[in-house]
Symmetry: C2
Subunit: 254 residues, 2 copies
């Protein structure tokens, strides 16, 4: 049974997509079977893997509309000598929120589509920066939520809103939903604020706080513009080291 | 008649709130009458000005529900020897999207509330990182849209989606809506990608691209955690210089 993990945080620009792409790639390198799903209407994970979302015929939107199965829409992404499956987003998803809003079972679209999928070790879902219908679908389909968090001001304030939403969804829609953990991103040891917030995260979350922060690293900001994961773009960078260490930490905790 | 300007970009973390707070403060220092409105359910502009959104009794949400007027909910923010008015957000706004979704005239809530307000030179609206109901309200109430843009990969791709949405809103809901312009944020001259994208922005937008980028500057990331604008926190920093220069550029173009 695959671990289905939503990568969510309604705060914008905290490293959700960077984590979704590079953590999926790291686990693929460690011989895990991985599928990555992009349900952000901005399709950043899709473009960041070098795929032109606006030219695709089959995306997650077609799956939601019942016009295609996940198998039809999947794109295979090569990671060195291995590969992971990728379910791309669509720019039309932005309209989907409005169109699907009054559809019965609107929160279960993704969960229904995934119900017959069994072959992976991990399924990651990259969420948009809001608590709207797409993120709702991810939190209903997932069994775990993984939260990238930029160690800045307000990081913890926004988090309590997200934890409240998770609790409501667990109570009403998805009893299996659990918090997998929190990881600090874009960490710069020279910034006092970063160090202070990371300390707060550790004391608040205990062992659910993944120890090693992902360090601020220019290669992570550049790799998506080449359509590459960090492992192809700059394999000896901090970015590659940190995401590999995070993947190993996740496997050790299993 | 006030200039009503929505600060919008559905990409997360590009500097919308940082621009909303510090551009409002810069124009206040230049003797303009300014109101800043926070309609992001994350209430980042509210917390960033040192106001605890979760303790407030009157917010923009109460205005939307007809329980308070804008005058009732406004908080005066001191900027040195001057002051600007601030309409705070509420954490309850996240539910508002769902609750108000089927309300007739749901896109006109903010525009109706502002219809009797005449005394300001500028009214800025800080938007959340999505094209949902709150941003829709801002784009219907505003006559201009100002777009902060991080000069990274995908910056321009996301922009075309926003420009499409603006065109639809102009056609169907708010014929007065115009693009005021685009400003590059978090600019670091050493990063090739930043320089390349800024060149593209200039060639694409012509004089609607505000010439001076806002430079990456640690004081801008730190000032909200002290509840201060950049002018109180670090008046001689690049951040203060750049936002003052942007304010002067806006006034010269008037
Ligand atoms: N560790 C890092 N070091 C340097 N830059 C980073 C790092 N992580 C992310 N970034 C950069 O920060 C920006 C935001 O990252 P990303 O797009 O992954 O965030 P997000 O949370 O997915 O954003 P959104 O809320 O729009 O979905 C991007 O430009 C990305 O390249
Ligand atoms: N010029 C700058 N230099 C350094 N840091 C900056 C700059 N502008 C913004 N930041 C930092 O980048 C992060 C994102 O900025 P901000 O919150 O203003 O973006 P936003 O677009 O409003 O985000 P959201 O999409 O969540 O509303 C914050 O941590 C902020 O402090
Ligand atoms: Mg993202
Ligand atoms: Mg913001």
């Amino acid at each position: 049974k695959p671990r289905i993990i939503a990568i969510a945080n309604q705060k914008g620009g905290v490293g959700k997509t960077t984590t979704a792409i590079n953590l999926s790639a790291a686990l693929t390198r460690l011989d895990k079977q991985v599928m990555l799903i992009d349900i952000d209407p901005g399709a950043h994970a899709t473009y960041g893997l070098g795929i032109l979302a606006h030219k695709l015929e089959r995306t997650v939107y077609n799956v939601f509309k019942g016009e295609a199965t996940i198998e039809d829409a999947i794109i295979e992404i090569l990671i060195e000598d291995k590969s992971m499956d990728f379910l791309p987003s669509s720019l039309e998803l932005a309209e989907a929120e409005m169109i699907l809003f009054n559809t019965p079972g609107r929160e279960f679209l993704l969960s229904n589509a995934l119900s017959s999928i069994t072959k992976y070790d991990f399924i990651f879902i990259d969420c948009p920066p809001s608590l709207g219908l797409m993120t709702l679908n991810a939190l209903v389909a997932a069994r775990e939520v993984f939260i990238p968090l930029q160690a800045e001001f307000l990081a913890l304030q926004g988090l309590s809103k997200l934890l409240d939403s998770i609790a409501i969804i667990k109570e009403r829609l998805n009893p299996a939903l659990e918090l997998m953990g929190v990881v600090a991103t874009r960490f710069d040891g020279r910034r006092i604020l970063n160090r202070e917030v990371v300390e707060k995260i550790r004391s608040y979350f205990g062992e659910k706080a993944y120890n090693l922060p992902i360090r601020e690293n220019i290669s992570l900001a550049e790799s998506p513009s080449h359509g590459l994961t960090i492992f192809e773009y700059s394999p000896s960078s901090y970015g590659a080291t940190d995401y590999l260490a995070l993947a190993e930490d996740i496997l050790e905790r299993t």
